[in-house]
Symmetry: C2
Subunit: 212 residues, 2 copies
Amino acid sequence: MERLDAPPDVVIRRLPLYARSLRYLLEEGVHSVSSQELGERINVTAAQIRKDLSYFGEFGKQGIGYDVEKLLNHIERILGLTHKWPVVLVGVGSLGQAIARYEGFHSQGLQIVGLFDADPAKVGQQIGDLTIQDFSQLRAVIREHHARLAIIAVPATVAQSVADQLVEAGVRAILNYAPVVLQTPEDVWVRYIDPVAVLHSMTYYLAREGGE
Amino acid sequence: MERLDAPPDVVIRRLPLYARSLRYLLEEGVHSVSSQELGERINVTAAQIRKDLSYFGEFGKQGIGYDVEKLLNHIERILGLTHKWPVVLVGVGSLGQAIARYEGFHSQGLQIVGLFDADPAKVGQQIGDLTIQDFSQLRAVIREHHARLAIIAVPATVAQSVADQLVEAGVRAILNYAPVVLQTPEDVWVRYIDPVAVLHSMTYYLAREGGE
């Protein structure tokens, strides 16, 4: 029985982890998995997995477990990963270069279709198949590829202005590596990658353990 | 009145964002801020800020707001940022190099004290002040600096083995960039940086908006 309530965001954030674990299982030649086994791989309880998946329908059979490939296909459909999503990347410093070179995007439903930087010395440089372009090309590339996803890897001081331009050109979801909170219209998704903040959330606990 | 219940992890994860906003305010020469203004900068309600801070004591005065510098100092003390934390970084591919070069760590209470890679061609190379070392030096460097924090930026296939070695050498908190969930003892903190999973959690919403 499919639940009618909308899944909370925390569930949506776990789905990609389920999908990745299932992909690893397939690569290992495993075709059936219990919620217990799947849970152990991602440090989630079996009950949590069953509850998360119950938002999207009925999966697996009591005592038999999940068909790995079927469940993976189903989760990929839920996540909209039945086609490649074009992504533009703004900011090609050392972090941006690492992002541009990361093969994990392409193999997992994402395709970087444009690299942009404000530094004239970088414009024209090649990274993989792509040439770094000037900001002035941003709108044209976004329109051409219908890109609705963008990655920001520029300094904090210019991140808001870049975000404004991305949104104006049609981007609806931003992954922001700049250490600053972005102000965007309500219908634009923004997520953050913030290693310093994450490390600080751990120093809190370590400081309490003593030894410092 | 200080609350006696322990703050939930979600509150601990927001504290670094408060601290960063306060740091930006100080740089702008702002010395007093209301919970309203602070909240607008990080997309959190004023009520949420007051509730979060209530776990740690009494801050700000009704109608006057927070003294920016005092509140920043207080939050930094709570996060254990009264001294620099030594961090080791394992994996110096293009992502690891970007991390090693990122100045945001040093300016925010973190100091990378060791770079390690398994590739003999990389060992001996210099990045900033640091020389990339062989894995065999890991334990000695961790002990010498009493490093309890580590960053993993190696391929997924070797991340678990690296984590095991880090924990054995005394590391208590790991920031993991490898796209795999790590199994560690209960008293070791692990947090993840996973851009693909984050992007997939947004494609979910975009796919539902239609237009694809």
